[in-house]
């Protein structure tokens, strides 16, 4: 308990300064003056969730084409300008957002703002650049297909969600990537990239007044247009779903998915604590029991993923040599049943709470990481304050709530189970 109190003292809330320009662009500034570095990020509210059938992967293709030139700058010019400034830049596409970022010395982050303002308005997406880049994306897709874990996760999403767009892979299906035309991508760009559908995050050695002035300078003249968002709802799962995926592998893998809750639901905290108790660290139940003492698993990990419109509690486990997937699966269910029937110990609960607090402090080591988190929360519509409230809410989780959450969500009818096995197996 004393440790908990001391940990709470170490945990200091972060401060973010927020603005909204007249055109709807959200601006969030987080100061950290440890190193003379600024992470300049733009988060767009577009990703695989928003994509129609037949056009999966278009947000990701657009992200690739966003480096291929505007009216003002030629292909790859963006990379070169940032490079010559000693910066690091990259981009990624997620379920609900597309993010471009550049980390630069704090005397020159305006470079990134200028380039992002240009990228928001003037992308060319030329047919000559589109052809080879689509081939690159298809190679990226092949890399994933060759990775057993990615294949299993993709199949698990497809089986867990029957209707909801969360079932679609962010990179898209191969046939959709193949079918997507330059005009499709351009259209997608025109309809989704504008100030009202984006947030700028400046994290690091930045003066907020100056930061805002620079954002205004580059973005205030761009016209904003807010977009309607469709909320899709997955019908409740009423019965276990199982599948077998065969690949040329030596090592079988087990994947389990339980539907849980969206990230604004109070049960999220108890489920996160469960995830920590099961698999966070060497002293966790899975590592202690399944891996070390019982010798059933080589690795057993849980992930609780909460998105805006739903969540999933996933378990990924690899059996030790000579152990079959059925035995491993049963051993995992025994651990799950224990959570429903026996209250977790004080020590376990305190440990999880301490871990959550410590993680919240560790996270502040990286301005880029905090920036991503701020942008993610902003895009999902929750606001950055949850960075501060989350560890506090975790402290309030009780043993009873853990039992209730386990009973409510870890039901057989609510799960999807996948076996990845060798092509040569029976």
């Amino acid at each position: 308990m004393l440790n908990l109190i001391l940990a709470i003292i170490c945990f200091q809330p972060i401060e973010v300064i927020e603005y909204e320009l007249d055109n709807g662009l959200r601006v969030l500034i987080y100061e950290d003056h440890f190193a003379p570095v600024v992470s300049a990020q733009i988060h767009y509210r577009v990703g695989s969730y928003y994509e129609p059938k037949g056009l999966t992967g278009v947000s990701h293709l657009l992200e690739h084409m966003a480096f291929k030139g505007t009216e003002k700058y030629g292909p790859r010019e963006y990379d070169r300008i940032i490079e010559e400034a000693g910066g690091y830049e990259n981009a990624y596409t997620a379920v609900d957002r597309t993010v471009y970022y550049a980390n630069l010395r704090s005397d020159r982050y305006e470079l990134a703002l200028g380039l992002e303002a240009d990228r928001m308005q003037n992308l060319k997406i030329s047919p000559e650049e589109f052809v080879p880049e689509k081939a690159v994306v298809m190679e990226e897709r092949r890399l994933r297909e060759n990775d057993p874990y990615s294949s299993l996760f993709e199949q698990l999403d497809l089986m867990s969600y029957t209707y909801h767009p969360y079932r679609n892979p962010i990179i898209g299906f191969m046939s959709d990537i193949e079918r997507t035309t330059r005009d499709d991508v351009f259209q997608w760009y025109r309809s989704h990239y504008n100030p009202a559908n984006a947030a700028i995050v400046l994290a690091g050695d930045v003066d907020p007044g100056e930061g805002l002035r620079l954002v205004k300078k580059h973005f205030s003249k761009i016209k904003g247009r807010s977009l309607e968002e469709t909320k899709y709802e997955e019908p409740p799962q009423r019965g276990e779903r199982r599948f077998v995926l065969k690949k040329h592998v030596n090592q079988p893998i087990l994947g389990i998915h339980y539907h849980t809750v969206a990230s604004d639901h109070d049960d999220m905290y108890a489920l996160d604590v469960i995830s920590m108790i099961l698999s966070s660290g060497y002293s966790s139940r899975f590592e202690q029991g399944l891996v070390r003492t019982e010798g059933i698993a080589t690795a057993a990990q849980t992930y609780h993923q909460n998105l805006k419109y739903g969540g999933g509690f996933m378990i990924l486990a690899i059996p030790q040599t000579g152990i079959d997937l059925g035995t491993l699966e049963q051993a995992i269910y025994e651990e799950i049943e224990n959570l429903k029937n026996i209250a977790v110990s004080d020590a376990e609960l305190d440990k999880a709470k301490n871990q959550a607090l410590a993680q919240a402090v560790y996270r502040r080591d990286s301005p880029q990481g905090i920036g991503f988190y701020i942008g993610q929360l902003e895009i999902a519509g929750y606001g950055w304050e949850s960075i501060n409230t989350y560890p506090v809410r975790i402290q309030e989780v009780s043993k009873e709530e853990i039992i209730e959450a386990a009973k409510k969500y870890f039901a057989q009818d609510n799960r999807t189970v996948g076996y990845l096995i060798s092509m040569e197996a029976e």
């Binding site: 440790n3 001391l6 940990a7 170490c10 950290d32 440890f34 003379p36 570095v37 790859r76 010019e77 990379d79 070169r80 300008i81 010559e84 400034a85 000693g86 910066g87 690091y88 980390n103 630069l104 010395r105 020159r108 470079l111 380039l115 080879p132 880049e133 689509k134 690159v136 190679e139 990226e140 890399l143 060759n146 990775d147 057993p148 690091g204 040329h248 030596n250 090592q251 966070s280 660290g281 060497y282 002293s283 966790s284 891996v291 010798g295 080589t298 690899i318 030790q320 040599t321 020590a347 440990k351 301490n354 871990q355 607090l357 410590a358 402090v361 560790y362 080591d365 990286s366 092509m423």
Partner: protein, 440 residues
């Protein structure tokens, strides 16, 4: 074409970081960087006890030793060790590289003494309980097996084996399933007894502490660790081939995973900065490097196409890495060889200029977190650079000439005698390149 939005003045620009180096009476080196941004301390203990010291037939021994460190000491059990750190939200993880074994850890600064005393205990007094060793060997063997489905790992492992052959750098620290199985309790104990000593170790601390009280703390927890004379290291260099050697590892996948390279500089090599900047131009600069420009941007052959140097204490290698669909393997290998050849033949002044501008601005980005700082401090120690390295770095870069880079290219890039490893559903006749000797 290029318009510059801001005028960039290449001024030297590092931020105040003071690396201090202290030595305890028993020879234990302590490197510290005090930083008080967040109440956290990151630690890493490096013992010169990596997998290059694995005896033949016992590959994976060094890794088993470091992994056993948290599995019980003569005073605490696995449960007590892991719970003690994790109950306060801390992290303590063993690691093994080719050159070093050891542990890394992270805690809120209020728990620093807890972490250092447990780390000291694990490094000095591990129990090497036979049941725990049996369990660990089983887990490790299953882990090695699981890795055999990952084409990236199969490719790198195959390349290392092809390049270094029976030299100890030819195997990964984790070892082989057969050799891990043959490691005995006595092997583990004697390896630890031989190499785990303060005069063979350095510690790195970055974060929220005061150095003076830290040294007092370390004298308490590490002060009784005894010195032992270290056996002479086998400084034998791997032997280079005088022709191009290639091998295919068959795997039923839709792409070919390609690694092509040669030997490279070791830690502390005089021409490291020249080699690094040369490689930046060739394949290290992300999408603007020559390899990515040709193979990815112009030809659309691959998603990943780059090159790098991997350094060890006693050797190193250069490798270019690409994954492409199997029909394009020949064109891709030809392109790689062409890029390596042209790098040897011609480096443009504007390329060096661009690379220098990059490195001028890049340095603060490379250590703006505590964990990155730990790694950079360790590299400075390993390579034997002075404690003012971060201040000097930009001078080293600025002093490089086109001749330095050309010399590095000639020394490390060999289009006529390279090592080529391909993983995939490929046959030698699919690779239309002259003068390769294929090895089964």
């Amino acid at each position: 074409m290029r318009s510059v939005i801001l005028l960039i003045i290449p001024v030297f620009f590092t931020f105040a970081t003071r690396i201090e180096r202290d030595t305890l009476d028993n020879g234990l080196i302590v490197l510290t960087v005090e930083a008080h941004k967040i109440p956290v301390v990151e630690i890493k203990a490096y013992v010169r006890a990596g997998s290059v010291l694995d005896p033949v037939g016992k590959e994976g021994l060094a890794n088993l030793v470091s992994q056993m460190l948290i599995r019980g000491t003569d005073r605490s059990s696995y449960d007590e060790i892991t719970a003690s750190i994790e109950s306060v939200g801390g992290v303590l993880t063993p690691f093994t590289s080719e050159d070093f074994g050891g542990m890394s850890g992270k805690v809120l600064s209020k728990d620093l003494s807890r972490l250092t005393s447990i780390m000291a205990e694990c490094l000095q007094y591990p129990l090497f309980d036979s049941l725990e060793l049996l369990r660990l060997k089983r887990e490790t063997i299953s882990y090695i097996r699981a890795q055999s489905d990952d084409p990236f790992i199969v490719c790198e492992k195959g390349f290392r084996d092809l390049l270094f052959s029976d030299h100890p750098l030819g195997h990964f620290p984790v070892g082989l399933d057969s050799s891990v199985a043959s490691v005995l309790e006595s092997d583990v104990k004697s390896f630890h007894e031989t190499y785990y000593h303060p005069n063979n170790t350095f510690l790195v601390f970055v974060g929220d502490f005061s150095k003076d009280s830290l040294i007092t703390l370390l004298n308490e927890s590490f002060g009784k660790w005894t010195i032992s004379e270290q056996p002479g290291m086998d400084e034998q260099k791997p032997r280079a081939s005088d022709c191009s050697l290639a091998r295919i590892i068959p795997m039923d996948i839709s792409q070919a995973y390609i690694m092509l390279g040669n030997f490279g500089p070791e830690y502390g090599a005089d021409d490291w900065h020249a080699a690094r900047v040369m490689n930046y131009i060739l394949g290290g600069a992300g999408l603007t490097a020559r390899i990515a420009t040709t193979i990815r941007e112009e030809k659309g052959l691959a998603y990943i196409a780059y090159s790098y140097f991997q350094r060890f204490l006693n050797s190193g290698y250069f490798a270019a890495e690409v994954q492409t669909k199997k029909e394009m393997v020949s064109e891709t290998v030809q392109s790689l060889i062409a890029e390596i050849t042209s790098m040897r033949n011609e480096i443009h002044a504007e390329e060096i200029d661009r690379a220098k501008k990059f490195y001028t601005g890049y340095l603060p980005l490379s250590y703006d977190t505590y964990s990155e700082m730990v790694n950079i401090v360790a590299q400075i120690e390993i390579a034997g650079y002075g404690l003012d390295y971060l201040d000097q770095f930009e001078n080293y870069i600025a002093a490089l000439t086109i001749e330095d880079l050309e010399a590095a290219a000639k020394k490390y890039l060999h289009p006529d005698r390279f090592y080529l490893l391909i993983v995939g559903d490929i046959k030698p006749e699919d690779v239309k390149v002259e003068g390769i000797e294929w090895i089964r």
